[in-house]
Amino acid sequence: MPLCATDLVKGLIGLLGSGEVLTELEDILPYCFDGTAALKQRPLAVVFARDASQVSSVIKLARIQGAPVVTRGSGTGLSGGSVPVLGAVVLCLVKMDRILEVDTANLALRAEAGAITQKIYEAADAVGLFYPPDPGSMKISTIGGNVAENSGGLRGLKYGVTRDYVMGLEVVLADGSICWLGSKCVKDVAGYNLRDLFIGSEGTLGVVTQVLLKLLPKPTARQTLLATYGRMDAAAETVSAIIASKIIPCTLEFLDRKTIQCVEDFAKVGLPRDAEAILLIETDGHPAAVADEAAKIEELCRAHGATTVRRAANAAEAAQLATARRSAFSALARLRPTTILEDVTVPRSELAGMIRAVEAIANKHRLNIATFGHFGDGNLHPTILTDERDTAEMHRVELAFADIVEETLKRKGTITGEHGVGLAKKTFLRRQLGDSSYELLRLVKRSIDPDNLLNPGKIFDQA
């Protein structure tokens, strides 16, 4: 807590106006959490900035007063990255939501950090272009949050993640200075690639206020397939077979039985409730290539034990299936009061083994775990269905987590594929990185934010 909280609040009101500074309990309680289960902390104040210069003045003031600053978008993060720290000023950017420029000559789009991912997709789509990254929360997630967490999504297999589409950033640093990193040039090697340093930095190095994004031409054709399996292993084998046949589908998603049932209860899109596993596969590109790939994929599915393969009849049905899949995490909350989502990722050759390991861990700790995820990326979302008020069970959840991480690291995997470290994975980071890499991270943080002002205590604790 800063020494003069009232001075700080007065100062913030002076900078932004009283309507943009929230301090009453009823106003700030709804900012104590993000999309992560069981993590919450009360901030000192929540403030809304309208541009980089306001962000800069807020940071300068907070620095003088010694108050930490936690940047927040729509608060949908899944690792506790935007959960406040005690006494912090939450700097909320959702009111900076303009799309500033769609540059069809350079295939680029520039937006403020609070712009909604879905709106960016739509703005590109309207001029025949394509912004591929599509995290599950894209209907409300902000592009600034996507950059801060380097979010992935369903299309990661073929198109990569947020990082692959960021050409430039406007960033406000911990001393309040404003800098531009990157440009509209396809090639640009002037100096260190500092832009990439800020992507995935989880709000610990600076505040992203504007984003310049790369766009692609919109694929002219798409085909979505839904393959049903009686055995989980058969689905995993199909994925390996597709990749081994040198086909890279746009999307290659997997849902287990529990997830299928919850998603179907919500979305009612005709998923087979009695299947052990389903694969949701999409191929896109030139119509001839799509037709060819879809035929090959269907053949591979059948050859590896799919009981049925259904093709989406049209774009609307395909969109429905993708939307249903995006709801998986939240839909699982139907089963138990608390839903804790994991994000471990393994090399794709380790997938089938990893899935079996998760099953064994669930049995060992007598826990209910549902699994879905981006099979094509090796990115799994084992989801523990529990009740945070049951302390005995929550203890078993912790043990199960540790076991899942153990199995992941044994397979040369990573503790987080797309959700970030935040608070949720902090304790496991040093084990994955090793001492030297871990210290290098802290050295970078110390150099850029020496007073540990920005989102302190996320990713790691500063020594």
């Binding site: 999309g35 209907k139 939240s330």
Partner: protein, 431 residues
């Protein structure tokens, strides 16, 4: 009535604050502040249950800033029962009296306890209003500029006062009407505003059901459904009205109980939940809820006869979904199927069809600014379709949209889908 602290905690816990509700919540979209969002409101309710927050005036104001449109429940993958949370929270706000003032208390007593619990008194008031309107009193009052003498809020509302019908439902519909060949027996619920202002919709409901082989029972004096009470924190009156309704209409005698107003239907449908702890009525309420259908839903369910009258030329129609029909009752496709079956109708979808129009019960009276922002937004989307007819299935939406269109100088007709269907059946006979 259970308080937030006493209610089943798992209902509060069901919200895992993923944020999927945010883009569908009109008040969050308006302010972009979490407190004005579904997950924000739930976090406040949970803080009260946890003892971290008292029921304060600010909490009370927040609960009444919520439209209660339930758009969040359609968006929620986790199936959070927001309707229950919302009603429980408002009831607690009333119990604690954090918003109480002599004026507010008087208005609440007049509306909730006096007028809307006594159907004959309501009709008497309606008749007086009708006399005022047809006698020229209203016109004279307006022409003489006397509206200036009204308090500010009434001055704003006066021009929006609906035109009361010369005949109410019981003067248009007999208690029992038999079709040529009877296949089913149904009871029709006539509502309060619907009864006074849209008795033609009730007549049309009877007509289309008769045309589809239903024996139609319409008790001439029906109590209010109680939704106004439940949504405004008076659960006691809501339960009493539900019991009266069940005394009047025994669901075991009918194949279906038909509602034609989205708001009433959504509340009627949950009588089972409302009276679950009532030893005497629980069973009958459960039967009632099982048989409750919106009229469009029921027509589609019984595979209604498609009218064969020749089209009188193409007519562009757009459909606005009543919140409590689409979000509250999940009836969304059926009214469109009715419209598409009518010869000559070209159904044009409008943007944000499932967004609240700002009527939201009495929200247009209690929250005029947000209400008129939503009204403008709705009218813009409706007009963009170029449709000459706006179909909608709830009296509140009907009035709000009609007022909005007229203010924008638009002459488009606002009409309930079954009124159009009844017209098409009539035109068949006229050949």
């Amino acid at each position: 009535m259970k308080t937030l602290a006493e209610m089943d905690y798992s209902v509060l816990q069901q919200c895992m604050h993923c944020g999927m509700c945010l883009p569908t919540c009109p008040t969050y979209v308006e302010t972009k502040e979490e407190r004005n969002s579904p997950r924000g409101r739930i976090s406040l309710m949970r803080a009260i249950a946890d003892g971290e927050l008292d029921v304060t005036k600010a909490f009370g104001e927040e609960m009444y800033y919520c439209l209660g449109c339930l758009a969040c429940t359609s968006a929620c993958p986790a199936d959070v029962n927001y309707a229950e949370l919302f009603e429980t929270a408002r009831a607690e706000v009333e119990k604690k009296g954090v918003l109480a003032s002599p004026k507010r208390d008087a208005i609440r007593w007049f509306a909730l306890r006096l007028i809307f619990t006594r159907p004959r008194l309501l009709r008497f008031v309606g008749r007086l209003l009708w006399l005022w309107q047809v006698s020229g009193g209203q016109t004279a009052f307006r022409k003489l500029g006397l509206t200036r003498l009204l308090p500010k809020n009434l001055r704003r509302l006066e021009p929006q006062a609906p035109a009361v019908r010369a005949k109410f439902s019981h003067q248009l519909i007999r208690a029992v009407e038999k079709p040529a060949a009877m296949k089913r027996r149904v009871a029709v619920l006539t509502g309060c505003v619907q009864d006074l202002v849209f008795s033609d919709v009730n007549r049309a409901t009877g007509d289309v059901l008769l045309a589809n082989g239903c024996e139609v029972h319409t008790p001439p004096v029906q109590p209010c459904c109680g939704s106004l009470h439940a949504h405004n924190g008076d659960m006691e009156s809501a339960r009493e009205l539900a019991r009266r309704q069940l005394d009047l209409i025994d669901p075991t005698n009918f194949d279906a109980i038909i509602s034609n107003a989205g708001g009433c239907g959504s509340h009627f449908r949950h009588y089972d939940h409302l009276l679950a702890d009532d030893a005497k009525y629980a069973e009958r309420a459960a039967e009632w809820s099982r048989k409750l259908r919106d009229v469009s839903e029921y027509l589609v369910e019984i595979d209604f006869r498609k009218p064969s009258a020749p089209a009188r030329g193409a007519c562009a129609v757009t459909y606005h979904e009543s919140c409590h029909l689409c979000h509250g009752q999940k009836v969304s496709k059926q009214p469109r199927e009715i419209l598409k079956a009518i010869p000559g109708v070209e159904l044009r979808e409008c943007g944000e069809a499932t967004w609240c129009c700002g009527s939201a019960g009495i929200y247009n009276i209690t929250q005029p600014e947000t209400s008129s922002w939503l009204q403008d937004r709705k009218v813009e989307h409706l007009r963009a379709t170029g449709a000459v007819v706006v179909a909608t299935a709830n009296p509140g939406c009907h009035l709000q949209i009609e007022n909005g269109l007229r203010a924008a100088g638009d002459k488009a007709e606002v009409v309930h889908p079954v009124v159009l269907l009844a017209r098409a059946y009539r035109e068949e006979l006229q050949g």
